[in-house]
């Protein structure tokens, strides 16, 4: 009996030791990456650190997996510790960043610095809520081999009036995931190049109610805005070139609506797409329900961990083209400084941006997070050759379309997208069965209201 107890005790100790070893190795590695390249601060930054009052708050947009968020938080903490300032990292769900930021703007409680999607940078920048950061943008670009062309032109969009409101650190792209294993059985050896090809492959391969072809959200979530890109690839436009007058109500939009209604009525979409939440496509694909989804890459990260066989059985390719164009928007993510941040805070924020752009750190960060590259130095990160999804993002960095293309990227366009206007128009047609003309007229009216508000 005593012998048994002894064995149990030894076993428990061994288990604890193993656990400790298992936990400490990645933690040490994380800490090492987080502290990489933190040197002596410049005199200006050291003085700003002395003058700065209160904790330095930074909002990071949550991404998948959690380890990348933790790494970012650790890096910010290490930077703060190096300067002797207290930091506070707040993780914000990217689906809720607009509401949280809107609340903070109204309550005048924006953080010292934050990460935002392109849309939000656009609305905040032109609304006077961001402090321009042209010098940091130029310095970081120069230190890392220059900005990629598509990112540079998006950052210096005409609607920003020559101002640079943020420092990009990566972009979300749209990758078409397809079940290559099942499609191959039906004789489709390559991913579809056009939306019509995709529809044909879907029709030939799906076996409802077990599998459906088109796992694209048509609900009131950000994923539903893929419908705007499809509409644009059919020649539909949200607004005119001046970015002032809505042009939703057009023959091209009608063609797109006919196409999507045809596919929906033919049972190509899983029926639940009209009420999917932000994880709807992820769940549908990983459960084997959908043959095609469009995703930023988070699904690949979860498959790599939980279902490597499915990850291997999938193909990853660019978004298909429509009859008029191929629209595959690059959606850069930015680090920005609210104009409400104190002068010392602005200096610190820009120093933090430089710290976060460090290549050793970013290579570690991108290893997990599914961001595409924005700087030339990032092109050499091993992840962009090792991971098929990252490789797809690398291609998209070169060939993808600018945010909002072919429309004009401005605050009104962002708010049109934030209101889920296109998926709501699609729902009117496929769920409520209203006439296409009526759905377009309704969308046109609500779109114009948004654009008018920005014009006034």
């Amino acid at each position: 009996m005593r012998h048994l107890r002894k064995m149990q005790a030894v076993g428990s100790l061994a288990a604890i030791a193993l656990l400790a070893a298992g936990c400490s190795t990645p933690a040490n590695n994380k800490d090492a990456v987080a502290a990489e390249g933190l040197g002596t601060p410049s005199a200006e930054v050291a003085q700003a650190a002395k003058d700065f009052k209160g904790p330095f708050t930074y909002w990071i947009g949550l991404t998948f997996p959690e380890s990348s968020n933790d790494l970012e938080a650790a890096r910010i903490k290490a930077w703060g510790d190096n300067l002797g300032i207290q930091t506070q990292v707040v993780k914000v769900n990217q689906n809720e960043v607009v509401q949280q930021t809107s609340g903070a703007i109204e309550a005048k409680s924006l953080p010292s610095a934050m990460t935002v999607p392109y849309d939000l940078m656009s609305t905040m920048g032109t609304g006077g809520q961001l402090s321009p950061v042209p010098d940091s943008y130029a310095a970081i670009g120069e230190a890392h081999g220059g900005w990629l062309k598509s990112i540079d032109s998006a950052t210096k969009a005409k609607s920003f009036g020559g101002k640079v409101y943020g420092v990009p650190f990566g972009f979300f792209g749209s990758v078409l995931f397809s079940r290559a294993d099942l499609l191959k059985q039906k004789g489709f050896d390559a991913p579809p190049k056009t939306w019509d090809e995709l529809l044909a492959q879907s029709k030939a391969t799906q076996t409802p109610p077990k599998t459906y072809g088109m796992g694209f959200a048509l609900s009131n979530v950000l994923d539903g805005n893929l419908t705007t890109s499809i509409m644009q690839s059919f020649g539909g436009r949200v607004a005119d070139d001046a970015g002032k007058k809505c042009t939703i109500n057009s023959p091209e939009t009608a063609t797109f609506l006919k196409w999507i209604k045809g596919a929906f009525d033919a049972g190509q979409f899983p029926p639940s797409v009209v009420t999917w939440d932000g994880a709807g496509d992820n769940n549908s694909y990983t459960s084997g329900e959908s043959l095609f989804i469009v995703n930023t890459g988070s699904v690949y990260q979860s498959m790599k961990k939980d279902d490597p066989e499915l990850a291997k059985a999938s193909a990853y390719s660019a978004l298909p083209a429509g009859p008029v164009a191929q629209v595959a928007p690059v959606d850069p993510r930015y680090r920005v400084v609210p104009s409400s941040t104190s002068d010392a805070g602005k200096i610190l924020a820009q120093d933090l941006f430089k710290t976060l752009a460090d290549d050793t750190y970013m290579a570690g960060f991108m290893e997990n997070a599914t961001y595409g590259p924005v700087l030339n130095s990032q092109l050499k990160y091993p992840v962009f050759t090792d991971s098929p999804v990252h490789a797809g993002l690398l291609k998209q960095a070169e060939k993808g379309t600018a945010p909002a293309f072919p429309d004009t990227a401005n605050a009104a366009y962002s708010d049109y997208q934030n209101a889920f206007s296109t998926p709501r128009m699609v729902q009117r047609v496929v769920v409520d069965k209203v006439a296409i003309d009526k759905a377009m007229a309704e969308a046109q009216a609500s779109c114009q209201k948004i654009y008018d508000q920005h014009a006034s």
Binding site: V98, Q99, S102, I105, E106, T123, M124, G127, G128, Q129, P209, S219, N220, V221, P271, S272, V273, V274, T275, D277, S287, E289, D415, Y416, N418, A419, F420, R424, Q427, R428, V431, D432, E442, A445, K449, I450, Q453, H454, S456
Partner: protein, 276 residues
């Protein structure tokens, strides 16, 4: 001196209730967006509602979802309260268990229900697999309304049950004994003793529950986001969607337009309270 003593309470009401309410009403007459003051646009935000399919759905759902939910909560709450009022083994444990849906965070409750209602792989569809093809609980317009009502009732009925149970326990047992001696049946005892004795409680609970359900956001947003299309749309969700595109004026209009209905509920509640 009396007036002076009421000042703190008045200040709290003005700051926490008066200011936000008046601000919302004012915003609803402007085209205010997040971060900009906006201009006075008169009734523009309201006239738009007439042509807004979301507004029409939300109005219909104020009757459908709120009305049907209240009725079902009343029936279920009363039945459960009557059962829990009877002697039974482990009665306190049962009372505790009945409270669980109401006690758990709304997010957990509605996300859990959403997963159960999912088609085709939600728990309910899996359970029904042998009997029927997958039921589109959340994507079919009619089923979506039914699912939202079921979820709302499931989460809300414990409040009814426990309130009615409290009322039942205040009814003197002598009333039932006298009725039994007079030969009253169980049904007659229920309609002639129980119902009149709990009526005031039910009325108050109904008004409070109506206000909560009409203002409920998480049940709709987590289950259907107001969809499919606008089938399960409600005023709080419409307001939220306008905030999503930073249109504070329009969002305020959606919130203000429901105020008369809320005011009516509150008047009914005040009248009931006076009766106590």
């Amino acid at each position: 001196m009396g007036l002076l003593l009421t000042l703190p309470a008045v200040a709290v009401i003005v700051i926490l209730i008066g200011y936000p309410t008046i601000s919302s009403i004012w915003y609803s007459f402007t085209d205010r967006m997040v971060g900009s003051p906006g201009r006075f646009v008169g009734l523009d935000n309201y006239t738009r509602l007439v042509h807004d399919s979301g507004f029409l759905s939300a109005t219909a759902n104020l009757v459908l979802i709120v009305g049907v939910s209240l009725l079902l909560k009343l029936v279920l709450g009363t039945v459960v309260a009557v059962i829990l009022n009877r002697p039974m083994p482990e009665r306190n444990l049962w009372r505790l268990l009945v409270m669980l849906p109401w006690a758990m965070p709304g997010f957990v409750a509605f996300m859990g229900l959403r997963l159960m209602f999912e088609s085709p792989y939600g728990a309910i569809n899996v359970a029904l697999e042998s009997f029927t093809s997958p039921v589109p609980f959340l994507s079919d317009p009619n089923w979506a309304r039914v699912s939202v009502v079921i979820a709302t009732v499931w989460r809300g009925f414990p409040f009814w049950a426990i309130s009615i149970l409290a009322a039942l326990q205040t009814i003197p047992k002598e009333l039932y004994e006298a009725a039994r001696m007079d030969g009253a049946s169980a049904w007659q005892q229920f309609t002639n003793i129980t119902v009149p004795q709990i009526r005031s409680t039910v009325a108050v609970v109904a008004v409070i529950s109506a206000i909560w359900t009409a203002n409920g956001f998480e049940n709709i947003w987590l289950m259907t986001q107001g969809g499919p299309s606008t089938t399960t749309m409600t005023f709080p969700v419409l307001s939220f969607l306008s905030l999503q595109s930073r249109q504070l004026g329009q969002a305020a209009a959606y919130a203000v337009v429901i105020l008369p209905v809320m005011a009516l509920f509150i008047m009914l509640l005040s009248r009931r309270k006076k009766e106590f």
